[in-house]
Amino acid sequence: GGGMGQAQMDPNAQLAAAEQEMEMVTDMFARLGDLCYKKCLIQRYSDEELTKAESVCTDRCVAKYFQVNRDVSEKLAKLSQANQ
């Protein structure tokens, strides 16, 4: 096979890394679902529709989760640099 792409990385390791990355994204997504459900689904099931307030809350919930994600990740990066 080829020889291009991802420099010298072993193809099996590439697959494992891709798998790991997908796993991470799905895990984040599942956690986000639980969190925004807890934070935003106030009027549980008086109805089958998301209320306007619940919809807006959900959008902000996702946006804020990504910000927390970025903040935590930057903080950890700084900590690991400080430890070297």
Binding site: G1, Q14, F29, Y37, C40, E49, V62
Partner: protein, 92 residues
Amino acid sequence: MYNNYGASYQEQRLQQMMEQKQLKDFMRMYSNLVSRCFEDCVSDFTSNTLNDKELTCVNRCTLKNMKLNERIGQRFAEENAKLMEDQAKMGR
């Protein structure tokens, strides 16, 4: 990201992996939905069949949470795309 054209075995495996992942994700979403609707709607254990109130609740719970998941999915995809873009700019 994985553009080893010609390395068809790898591509096939990746393809297979993604299909299995999709199935797994669907199943996780599904089990989650069942648990959530059970937890939120069922609290009467004086009988062993769902009563009308519970049936209505489960029905609404399923629909409402599917809409919630869909909305979260859309926002998640948007935010994730932004993130990827930012990381690409920074050369990650």
